[in-house]
Amino acid sequence: MQNEPVQQTNYSWVRTITIGRNPKVTLIRVAVLVVTCTILFKYVLLPIRVDGPSMSPTYRERSVNFINRLAYRNKEPKRGDVVAVRYTGPNMMLMKRVVALPGETIEFVGGRILINGRFLDEPYLNNECDWNVKPEHSTMRDDEYYVVGDNRSMPFELHYQGGARRERILGKIVL
């Protein structure tokens, strides 16, 4: 008989830790948390893992980041923004930096970017580049943004870049 209250106390302690003092309130809290997280991480902040060297060293391989899907809801991407460009959906995306805006003309000279004939200041670049590219169709269309990675030490042929249509830009990288 003396042991009974002790067992009761132990049981209460475990129960409080696992399901709380009021299970109904705990259940409501869990439901609210699940709904909030689902909405937040599916429609607002999309978690991603960086895979590949094209944005190195700004974003290291295997690092985790988020895409703010609401960033361009009421405004357009700006030059210098790091954005996510989708393929057919959000399961596979390209992480690139916007360097040319709609209507602008781009070319690479001695590894530097010329926008409408003027060199672009790119303080985020950290490696040597020798790209000399005469663009074939270098002027962006009305809904097109030129995107390229920060790792320009890669050979030009291996660095996937080009004009991304506005509808493909899913959001802005958060961190």
């Binding site: 590949g52 393929y87 057919t88 690479f108 000399n132 005469k134």
Partner: protein, 178 residues
């Protein structure tokens, strides 16, 4: 309390019946989705695959395609305008015997079924991981599919450019002065 439990059990039973009905009578979209999942599984190559399995899998893979498949793939110099099903099986068999392991995934399919519900256009992303080489190939593609005897077959394959107009390297003599 008993009524609440009965309502919950009824809801579960209705849910299960609905799921079973959808599973047994799939919509064209669902049927295509399953076909694409089977296609990706069929294209996936495991390390331990023997020659007989490779031949069977290559043949199985070709069954997802029509008798003749129209191609519009880049680079154009590498791909013909059309290819027969038997040729697809041959190419697949060669690929399977030459590769060590490939993990093929079809991601984010966007399925648009025609008004006749016998044809469909599918936009999708193919991701191929090889041993020691993640994302060996990531390519956006467009399939045209047709229902033949209850099976959805691929009759046209196109590659889609995710980024447009990537500039080409210029010959040295035409480079602008820095």
């Amino acid at each position: 309390m008993k009524i609440a439990i009965r309502i919950v059990l009824l809801a579960i039973a209705i849910g299960l019946c609905t799921w079973l009905w959808i599973y047994l009578h799939p919509t064209p979209q669902e049927a295509i989705r399953r076909q694409l999942a089977a296609l990706a599984k069929s294209a996936t190559l495991e390390k331990t695959e023997g020659n007989i399995t490779a031949a069977l899998r290559a043949n199985e893979f070709s069954e997802f395609f029509g008798r003749e498949v129209m191609l519009n793939m880049e680079p154009r110099v590498l791909f013909p305008d059309s290819v027969e099903r038997s040729e697809i099986a041959r190419i697949m068999l060669r690929l399977r015997t030459e590769s060590r392991s490939l993990d093929v995934k079809i991601l984010d399919p966007i399925i648009t079924v025609g008004g006749d519900e016998k044809s469909a256009i599918v936009e999708l992303t193919v991701n191929v991981d090889a041993e020691g080489d993640r994302h060996l190939l990531v390519q956006e593609m467009k399939f045209m599919m047709k229902e033949v005897d209850g099976n959805w077959q691929i009759i046209r394959v196109e590659t889609v450019r995710t980024l447009n107009r990537a500039p080409r390297l210029a010959p040295p003599e035409t480079l602008p002065a820095a």
